[in-house]
């Protein structure tokens, strides 16, 4: 079995977001780029599956749609333990465009793992769109994956609870928290080995974007916090009732 893990390249979660002068794009100066947190957990789980089922999992490949600056992030994924990386050389214009690019390379993989959200534009769509383009089954909000012979044992969150599922391959799983406990950090040896692993750059396929960013805005500044003394805590409940009118 071959596993493909989709890798988003996003600003570090502590980044203070700024935009360019006309607010049409993020100001990337000083931004640290990281593997999208959910994708990092997906890769970690893929590694765990490979280690637990050496005979079943043949290789793990990571893929990203982006320009050459995202290669550092792909190298990090290789250092964590992926066997190969693919970069499709295109600007990730929107979810449909990205999914269309990935569809050109993803069909061969039995299991595809996508993160539930990209921590940049907070879209949630690439995984599901890719599944539809490949005409394959998908499960979303996956918080656990295990392999039992040809069967995938899956836990997913539903609105109002959780479920255990049995699914067969091929499958695309859109994963979230819980899929792996802690993301794996690359070790020195991994970083050395990553330099020799293949990172294949593929030309973009013909595809179109269906949406476009017009401009960005920052949320309005918040008014100062109104403080209440600890001994007067009860009065805050009155304020919430009478002034804020939320109780």
């Amino acid at each position: 079995m071959k596993i493909l893990v989709l890798i988003g390249n996003v600003p570090d979660t502590t980044t203070k977001i700024k935009f360019n002068a006309d607010n049409t794009a993020i100001d990337a100066s000083g931004v640290q780029w990281i593997i999208n947190p959910w994708d990092e957990l997906a890769l970690t789980r893929a590694m765990e599956l490979k280690e637990a089922h050496v005979d079943a999992v043949e290789k793990i490949v990571v893929a990203n749609v982006g320009r050459s600056e995202t290669e550092a992030t792909l190298r990090k994924a290789l250092a964590v333990g992926a066997d190969e990386a693919i970069r499709i050389d295109a600007d990730p214009l929107d979810a449909f465009y990205v999914a269309s690019q990935l569809a050109a390379v993803a069909a061969d993989y039995d299991l595809i793992l996508a993160g539930i959200e990209n921590a940049d534009y907070n879209g949630t769509a690439v995984g599901g769109m890719l599944a539809e383009l490949l005409e394959r089954k998908s499960v979303s909000a996956v918080s656990g994956i295990d392999l039992e012979g040809d069967l995938l044992k899956i836990s997913r969150e539903i609105d109002g609870g959780s479920q255990q599922l049995n699914m067969s391959l091929p499958l695309l799983a859109v994963v979230q928290k819980g899929i792996a406990k802690e993301p794996r950090i690359p070790a020195m040896r991994g970083i050395m080995m990553a330099r020799k692993k293949p990172l294949n750059v593929i030309a973009a396929a013909d595809a179109e974007a269906l949406t476009a960013f017009d401009h960005f805005e920052l949320p309005p500044a918040k008014a100062a916090c109104k403080m209440v003394e600890e001994e007067q805590a009860a009065s805050l409940i009155r304020i919430l009732h009478e002034e804020a009118k939320v109780l």
Binding site: P37, F96, E157, K181, K222, M227, A233, I237
Partner: protein, 322 residues
């Protein structure tokens, strides 16, 4: 051309979110001067679906096939696509919840529709079609143009509210034409949370962080939530420690919520935490550290000990409700 609203059900029941979606769909259709319809998949009482009329839905297509209960992503997308063909829908509205996030991208490919998830409010303009959404985990908003003729919008729960517009609702029975083989998800077991306000549905949320010190200390926090009819949430380390279930984790890597009122007890207010809660209408913070960043995001604050404040809050709420 028309607007189609996907109304899901939870064991045959609708909830506030369903009426919020109906309200949004009806308002959107009015703005675009298009007809609006809704589609329901699974077994739901006629009387229940008729309630959608109160929020402006004049017709509901209802396919009562029980196999939809398996929440098979691809089957539901197929059925919704059949419904868009039947109603000549060009815009589909659904919830930005687990199911909406799972099926909207699949439907978008079938319809070749531009999809924007978690939109805030009605479109800013309709020609071109521009909507606003949160990006960078609540650190900014983006105005997004949908270029394609077909469009899908998912709405974050509790961001639009209910708008009454009483109309008569006709129910039309609908067969999306799915075969048993279209359902490929085998559900082995389900674990549904009962008797508690779900975090996603909650208008008030009571949340605890590491400052609560231990799993055993949640009694008062739960009591406050109970008398307020609130949902409970927590910061990431709290769920990582196993003090609280994962489903309660809010923030960048957990749930993003937008209640009317969010109480943060013993939460420092890390940027990744705020990303999940900063769309709350009012935030109340209780923290013993006056420098905690949570106070920069909060509307009301108390510098103090959670264990001294909680009992006072509980008494005051009891008095208020009495």
């Amino acid at each position: 051309m028309s607007v189609l609203v996907y109304i899901e059900n939870w064991d045959g029941k609708l909830k506030k979110l369903s009426y919020e979606l109906a309200s949004y769909g009806a308002q959107l259709a009015e703005k675009l001067q298009l007809p609006v319809k809704a589609v329901s998949l699974g077994k739901v009482d006629e009387a229940t679906l008729q309630n959608l009329g109160k929020y402006g839905i004049p017709e509901v297509l209802s396919d009562t096939n029980e196999a939809y209960n398996t929440l098979d992503n691809s089957a539901i997308a197929k059925a919704l696509f059949a419904a868009t063909e039947k109603t000549a829908a060009t815009i589909v509205v659904m919830a930005n919840n687990n199911l909406g996030k799972a099926v909207s991208p699949r439907l978008a490919v079938k319809m070749k529709a531009g999809l924007v998830s978690a939109v805030q409010g009605l479109p800013i303009s309709t020609e071109p079609f521009v909507v606003k959404k949160m990006v960078f985990t609540s650190k900014a908003f983006a105005h997004i143009t949908i270029k394609s003729a077909n469009k899908i919008l998912t709405l974050a729960p509790n961001t639009f509210g209910l708008v009454e517009k009483n109309v008569e609702t006709t129910l039309t029975s609908f067969d999306a034409g799915l075969a048993a083989s279209d359902f490929e998800t085998t559900v082995v077991s389900s674990n549904k949370v009962t008797g508690k306000v779900l975090l996603q549905d909650a208008e008030i949320v009571v949340s605890g962080g590491r400052g609560m010190k231990a799993a055993d200390n949640w009694g008062q926090l739960e009591e406050l939530a109970e008398i307020l009819g609130a949902g409970t949430a927590c910061s990431r380390p709290v769920s990582d420690e196993g003090w609280r279930p994962h489903a309660e984790h809010v923030g960048q890597t957990g749930k993003i919520i937008a209640p009317n009122l969010y109480f943060a007890f013993g939460i420092s207010g890390a940027i990744q935490h705020l990303g999940g809660v900063s769309s709350s209408k009012v935030i109340v913070a209780v923290n013993k550290d006056p420098e905690a960043p949570i106070f920069e995001a909060a509307d009301y604050g108390i510098v103090g000990d959670v264990f001294k404040v909680l009992p006072q809050f509980i008494e005051a709420v009891k008095e208020l409700k009495a």
